[in-house]
Symmetry: C2
Subunit: 198 residues, 2 copies
């Protein structure tokens, strides 16, 4: 899929697929359903995407792109002091979290559902997580310590811990229908980083 030229049909399909797959997962979401929601015919669907799996891959790319723009696009970028910047980043993501992940995380959803059955999609998700880790590392640097330090973590480890907290709290929040889990997750992680960067 050439990202310089996402047609409106593709966009409609992607948006519909995103909503449906966040709600019901990949296998339970049918192509017909996506077409109905996107108000697009079956023919148009298979003109825009060669298969359901290819839609999945494109969807992950599109979702990741949109997500990172929101996550890494806040005003915290202007802050010069790295430690302040880090904490403002956390506040920014915390504030955006409900909008971003209230219905779940597509990377986590599709990754889990298709990890064993679609290597293509598993690798796609894995690569997106790695890209995220990389961008988070740069931000969490102020809280990182050389690995010799007792109780200290590298920036990479902190990025991993952040993603673990995010995906884990999304699971519990959905299952228990209690968004507070995510809020507390952010709060705790903030305290964690703050104590490390003192």
């Amino acid at each position: 899929m050439k990202w310089m030229e996402v047609t409106s049909t593709q966009e409609k399909i992607l948006q519909a697929a995103k909503t449906l797959m966040l709600s019901k997962g990949y296998p339970a979401t049918t192509v017909d359903e996506i077409c109905a929601k996107a108000k697009v015919s079956k023919g148009s669907f298979y003109h825009a995407f060669s298969s359901k799996e290819e839609l999945g891959v494109s969807l992950l790319e599109w979702y990741h792109q949109g997500g990172t723009e929101k996550i890494f696009g806040g005003s915290f970028n202007e802050v010069k002091d790295p430690k302040k910047k880090m904490l403002e980043f956390l506040d920014h993501v915390d504030r955006s979290s409900k909008e971003l992940w209230h219905d779940g995380c597509l990377l986590g959803n599709l990754g889990m559902e298709l990890a064993e059955t679609s290597p293509k999609i598993r690798l796609e998700v894995s690569s997106h997580f790695k890209k995220l880790t990389h961008r988070l590392e740069a931000i969490f640097e102020p809280a990182a310590q050389s690995k010799a330090a007792n109780g200290g973590y590298s920036a990479k480890e902190l990025a991993e811990q952040f993603l673990v907290m995010l995906e884990g709290s999304i699971v519990l929040a959905r299952v228990n229908k209690d968004w507070g889990v995510v809020k507390r997750g952010f709060q705790n992680f903030r305290a964690h980083l703050q104590s490390l960067s003192q």
Copy 2:
């Protein structure tokens, strides 16, 4: 399902369903597939369970029962000192983690996939998580602090953090095919509790 009398047919079906649903998820696992793997006819299946969804509910109950036995059944129970007991519990679960969750967690899997489409199963999962939280609370008590304490957490919050760490690291481990994520999760959580209980 009366748990005093799980027939061997039910057991075979539950075991097959567990393996298949951990690997491919609930909707992608077909009844025919389960029958084939369990070496049971379709007639027997629908004699043992009234529907696929009822199998799902029973499976969660069975899985939870077996899981808690392994999690809370280690020798750490003999330890008298609460703090020591807590740390030995963590070591015990850490050691058992690969056996327990290498292919994922059924509670997390089914909970996520069916949260929006099957209220019955979502509630079932939610209730199992609550039971787990309760039992964890008792164990993490030594690291708990009255909520007034700065940077302190209640036992309930610690139990939640543990489940968040567990579910989150299982997601990343499966997607990245790197079990180290879970190992590091346990390690970090251990350090977290230890620093809180000093």
